[in-house]
């Protein structure tokens, strides 16, 4: 079983190692046992708290927006009478075949100070002065959220679309004959039947958001003044950008492990409750 050997070396061992490491203090390759020092440091580290808040902010804003959009598009595209179905489907799905690096770079150029976003808004007289997208804390977050939504909405839409196609048509016909309006058919038939898929997408999106790295590193490098810093980026900075502080970085990484575990658990429990 080569797969298990590889996983053993490159997964299980690192996991245990980083757990051990999270109790070490020191710089570079010199370690000593620090007990709970690292955990104490977490509570007083403004950058860590900033990163944690940002991760939750992205999670709370972006994931619901994206999943609702995906559900809406999937529902619209599932209508066989819709004109141009194939075109819309391909178009909305297209972003998720781009590489994270390529689209981050493109977004960076679109949202430059003199970039096309500002040019268009100025031209349409929506704004008076150009917005400094990537250097303003609020707008930098906005761009990050917009970028992730752009990349992943179509991806989630595909899961919904596939699930919708497995729903028995006759249920809708029956409801239509009984005079149930369109939105109610959506809300009382489609959404409940899609629950397992919605759970799946929300778990994967949550994990994805908690691991957010590529976009923030390329768009803003976590700035301005850490307003788009995420936990993954902070771990990277702690280990590879500044003087390496592996022990503390490992502690921060365990925060993500615990968070992912907790949030997945909550989502599963919520789903189970509703089913009962």
């Amino acid at each position: 079983m080569p797969a298990l050997v590889l996983l053993g070396i490159f997964m299980v061992y690192p996991i245990l190692w980083s757990l051990w490491m999270s109790f070490q203090v020191g710089r570079g390759m010199n370690f000593s046992f620090g007990g709970l020092t690292n955990i104490m440091r977490l509570t007083q580290d403004p950058v860590f708290i900033r990163a944690l808040t940002n991760n939750f902010l992205f999670l709370a804003i972006q994931v619901p927006i994206m999943l609702v959009l995906a559900l809406f598009f999937a529902n619209a595209l599932n209508d066989s009478k819709l004109w141009g179905r194939g075109f819309f489907r391909t178009a909305i799905f297209l972003p998720c075949v781009t590489s994270l690096v390529a689209y981050s770079v493109i977004f960076k150029s679109i949202f430059g100070l003199e970039g096309i976003a500002n040019q268009s808004l100025l031209f349409l007289h929506v704004i008076e002065n150009p917005i400094n997208w990537l250097s303003d804390p609020f707008w930098a977050r906005f761009v990050v959220i917009a970028a992730i939504t752009w990349r992943w909405t179509g991806y989630n839409m595909i899961f919904y679309l596939a699930a919708m196609q497995n729903i028995d048509r006759s249920m809708y016909e029956a409801a239509r004959i009984d005079g149930v309006p369109g939105w109610a058919r959506f809300w009382y038939i489609t959404v409940p039947l899609l629950k397992p898929v919605i759970l799946f997408t929300s778990v994967t999106s949550t994990i994805g958001t908690l691991q957010l790295f590529d976009e923030v590193n390329l768009l803003t490098m976590g700035g301005p003044s850490d307003s788009t810093m995420t936990l993954s980026l902070y771990i990277y900075n702690l280990s590879f950008r500044f003087m390496p502080s592996f022990g503390y970085a490992a502690t921060v990484s365990y925060v993500i492990v615990v968070l992912v575990g907790l949030l997945s658990l909550i989502q599963f429990m919520v789903a189970r409750d509703r089913r009962a």
């Binding site: 298990l4 490159f10 819709l82 297209l94 390529a102 040019q119």
Partner: protein, 272 residues
């Protein structure tokens, strides 16, 4: 039938869909047009094709040893995909075909590990690679990514559809286990392999964070790393960057259009 509210809803749906389609496609348009413009034109927001395409291509190929970079990217993505498919499909086959007391426990453990973020692994992995003395080598990039739990899971699900009579018949004919796997299982599971190839290739091709950590010299860098590097200067040359972005997107875009249906099938294999 057609009351005004339904009609309005329909119009709103089309409007939103068109808007979404525009937003989805615009960055692609911007990237392609941008590659033919000078940096100054792109910054000014010029939205029409320009004449600087050739200049940008030349500058792009001069900025790095691009032949080497492209070679690295294709080698890592190709080799990574081949090895991943081999290892994960063996694991998937093994999990489904052989019974042992701990099978479900081990598999459950694997699924749990699926939720452990990469950020938690990268430091110990990096130290491990340093101890193996393989930092800045192809092996360092490939090794941790080969045994993808997600793809093992995918292959195990797909193997449920593999007729075990076929294996039994092959055993009676005196074939060894590895021969059964190679000459019976793989040909039968062709389409599963095709779908998995797309997903794995895309993941390998687009990989950024881990290569960023372990690849340190210019001649080892991959295309994604190079494109990312181009933006970090004080005066990034956007025309060149746009061309780089096209190069980075092109292979996955081609795969997507050639194998659209397979691609979606592949993604869905995981939820079923």
């Amino acid at each position: 039938m057609t009351n005004p509210i339904a009609l309005l809803g329909r119009a709103a749906t089309y409007l939103l869909l068109s808007l979404a389609a525009f937003v989805s496609i615009f960055p692609f348009f911007w990237m392609i047009v941008g590659a033919s413009n000078t940096s100054a034109d792109i910054i000014r927001g010029k939205g029409s094709p320009g004449v600087a395409l050739w200049d940008n291509i030349v500058k792009f190929f001069n900025s790095f040893d691009m032949v080497r970079v492209l070679f690295n990217s294709f080698l890592l993505a190709g080799l990574g995909t081949a090895l991943t498919l081999l290892v994960t499909s063996m694991a998937g086959y093994g999990f489904e075909m052989f019974r042992s007391r701990f099978r479900e426990k081990v598999f459950g453990g694997l699924l749990l590990m699926l939720s452990i973020p990469f950020a938690a692994l990268m430091i110990p992995l990096f130290v491990l690679m340093a101890q193996f003395k393989i930092i800045n080598t192809y092996q360092a990039v490939l090794l941790p990514s080969i045994a993808s739990i997600f793809i093992i899971f995918y292959f195990r699900q797909a193997t449920k559809a593999f007729p075990s009579e076929l294996r039994d018949a092959a055993r009676i004919d005196g074939l060894k286990e590895w021969q059964i796997f190679l000459f019976v299982y793989i040909p039968v599971m062709r389409s599963t392999y095709a779908a998995a190839t797309i997903i794995v290739f895309m993941a390998q091709w687009n990989n950024y964070l881990w290569p960023l950590i372990v690849l340190q010299t210019n001649e080892m860098k991959t295309l994604t790393l190079v494109v990312a590097t181009l933006t970090s200067g004080y005066t990034p040359d956007w025309g060149v960057i746009m061309f780089g972005a096209i190069c980075a997107t092109f292979p996955t875009l081609v795969i997507f259009f050639l194998l659209q249906r397979r691609f979606v099938e592949g993604m869905l294999g995981a939820v079923k």
